[in-house]
């Protein structure tokens, strides 16, 4: 019997590849095409420096997108991540002002995000409010709390170490020339990019190799079936929202650290970018479908588009139009895939 299976396996595998990876392949192709087009238009686009800049800009959307993907796979949506990002940054900033060292203060900020996520999960599963409404409420609440705590004023003078997470980089090579400006041989890999990489790998591992990941897919695929199979559906959902909140908190800390200032009105509409990244990457808002690598490609597409259009001198308004069209096209491709 074992031999028989081995014989059948390759055929099944190629079949799966053609059906499941079709969307990812088309997204990757889109990304490659965009990079090609932009580097054709502007020589400065296709450089290590600019590549790292794009990655740096993508890291915040990427972190939000990973949490969003988990939530979307359960069949939900998290509209609160942009506001939770701002609240988490605010909590970190206030903690530092209260005399707590930077690292624990950031941990407190991330925990504040996780707490927002827990409230989302609790309201959705125990009070049976639809995810759209529950997280819309949290979006307003978290933003309001952030603005109330700070009086809508930015918190600055948080010390140099606060800026390290957002502005530092690994493997930075600088040559001393004797002049005022040292020559930068290699700008280094920014910490946010490394962080995104670690979180993405951890997220993919969680979804693919762990029981909770399997349960996240099952819950989104058929909630009733999952419940009847003994899956703790409520706990699974709460887990996804807590993770989304915590990652929004992490993204908030990265973003505020990059600015070295806490801005309570940062992150407006970021939730839509995160949703767009997940959807471009093949996640289905109906639940049960999606993966981290797809979302990373989606986030990269948005990052490359923004950066490339900026360098080409296209206005921010046109950028919105283009990204909107990309989102619709991505879902259309998904539809075609499902119809086949």
């Amino acid at each position: 019997m074992a031999d028989l299976d081995r014989g059948a396996e390759p055929a099944a595998w190629t079949l799966k590849l053609s059906a499941g990876s079709f969307h990812k392949l088309s997204a990757l192709l889109t990304l490659a095409l965009l990079i090609f087009a932009f580097s054709f238009g502007n020589a400065a686009f296709f450089s290590i420096n600019n590549g790292l800049t794009v990655l740096l800009q993508t890291s915040v959307i990427g972190l939000l997108g990973i949490g969003m993907t988990m939530v979307i796979i359960t069949g939900g949506i998290d509209l609160s991540v942009g506001s939770v990002l701002a609240l988490s940054g605010t909590v970190t900033g206030l903690s530092i002002k209260a005399g707590i060292p930077v690292a624990p203060a950031m941990a407190i900020g991330v925990m504040a995000g996780a707490a927002c996520g827990f409230i989302n999960g609790f309201v959705i599963t125990k009070m049976r409010i639809t995810p759209f409404v529950a997280t819309l409420g949290m979006m307003l609440i978290a933003r309001g709390v952030a603005l109330q705590l700070t009086g809508a004023a930015p918190i600055s003078r948080l010390g140099e170490s606060f800026g390290l997470l957002g502005n530092g980089s690994l493997f930075r090579i600088v040559e001393k020339t004797g002049g005022i400006f040292p020559k930068v041989v290699f700008p280094g890999i920014p910490y946010p990019v490394i962080l995104l990489g670690i979180v993405a790998v951890a997220g993919a591992y969680l979804l693919r190799r762990r029981q909770i990941g399997r349960h996240i897919y099952a819950t989104g695929s058929n909630e009733e079936a999952a419940r009847l199979s003994g899956v703790l559906v409520d706990r699974t959902k709460i887990f996804a929202y807590v993770l989304s909140g915590a990652l929004a908190g992490l993204a908030g800390n990265v973003l505020m650290s990059r600015l070295v200032t806490v801005q309570p009105n940062e992150g407006v509409m970021y939730e839509l970018d995160a949703i767009a990244a997940a959807v471009i990457g093949g996640a289905s808002l109906m639940g049960g479908v999606g993966n981290i690598s797809g979302t990373m490609i989606g986030a990269a597409i948005i990052g490359v588009l923004r950066n490339g259009l900026n360098m080409a001198g296209v206005s921010a308004f046109i950028q919105q139009i283009v990204i909107g069209i990309i989102v619709i096209l991505a879902v259309y491709v998904d539809q075609i895939r499902n119809r086949r």
Binding site: M1, A12, Y217, A218, A226, L228, S229, G230, G288
Partner: protein, 263 residues
């Protein structure tokens, strides 16, 4: 093959079970027992309360009144998990499959096999799934595909495999042959006989009189939330059962058919 009903302890004893939604009594003072190696048909109209009763036993619904005994001991079934721990497995009419997952993932859903490090052991789950699915249907090949792309019969096989793979003692089958073709129906029939030989108690919810008379040792008929009859299959004809289902009563001149034959 015929169970010796008097000597053994019942596998399941449901006593005066009640379930109401608002003012409506979906299940009204129903008692039911099931012995090892016995197939009991549960019959009734749509909305007669038979699905409700089955859902109570499988942990998907909590009764308002009544006690459930398994092997003579009172048990408290709050969740599907509790029921499974007692060896009660259910094949739902809707099959209860997660469409986006493949067959092994569905088979082990909620009871995933893990490696030493707590990771999912997909290789072992696949190997186990292959062996159990091939036993039920030798033509089962596309185990890696999401179950949404499988045929109705194959999906049914996955649902059945999920119920019998684990240590099942009491099997609830809700319309197991409704979506199946003739050969697959025959397969389910022979499977039921085989499980009965192994001493498993089976509750078979079905609309198909032919199946019921073919497979069951006893029938229980429900009407408007009440149990209106419980008879050994030799004592009734199809017409008697239909009368119970529709009117909630046996024909006036009814006497147990097996005794009549003797007279």
């Amino acid at each position: 093959m015929k169970p010796d009903a008097q000597s053994a302890t019942p596998l399941v004893q449901m006593d005066s079970i009640e379930k109401h939604f608002g003012g409506i009594k979906a299940v009204n003072d129903v008692s039911l027992d099931l012995y090892p190696g016995e197939v009991v048909g549960v019959l009734g109209h749509n909305g007669a309360g038979k699905s409700c009763l089955m859902r109570i036993l499988s942990g998907a619904m909590i009764p308002n009144e009544g006690t459930i005994r398994v092997n003579g001991e009172v048990v408290d079934i709050q969740t599907p998990h509790d029921a499974r721990d007692l060896g009660i497995e259910t094949i739902y009419q809707t099959l209860a499959l997660a469409d986006h997952l493949n067959a092994p993932a569905n088979l082990f859903l909620g009871r995933e096999l893990k490696t030493r490090f707590g990771n999912l052991d997909d290789n072992r789950m696949m190997a186990e799934a292959v062996s159990v699915l091939k036993r039920l249907n030798p033509n089962f090949k596309n185990l890696n595909d999401p179950v949404s792309s499988l045929s109705g019969g194959q999906r049914q096989v996955v649902a059945i495999a999920r119920a019998i793979y684990f240590d099942v003692k009491i099997l609830i089958m809700d319309e197991p042959t409704a979506a199946l073709g003739p050969s697959e129906t025959a397969m389910v029939g022979s499977l039921i006989r085989q499980l009965r030989e192994e001493g498993i108690g089976i509750l078979l919810v079905s609309h198909d009189m032919h199946d019921v008379f073919e497979l069951c040792d006893r029938v229980i008929v429900m009407n408007k939330g009440r149990k209106v009859g419980s008879h050994p299959i030799e004592d009734v004809t199809k017409d008697d059962v239909l009368s119970l289902i529709i009117k909630g009563d046996l024909p006036h001149d009814w006497a147990p058919r097996s005794q009549k034959a003797v007279q």
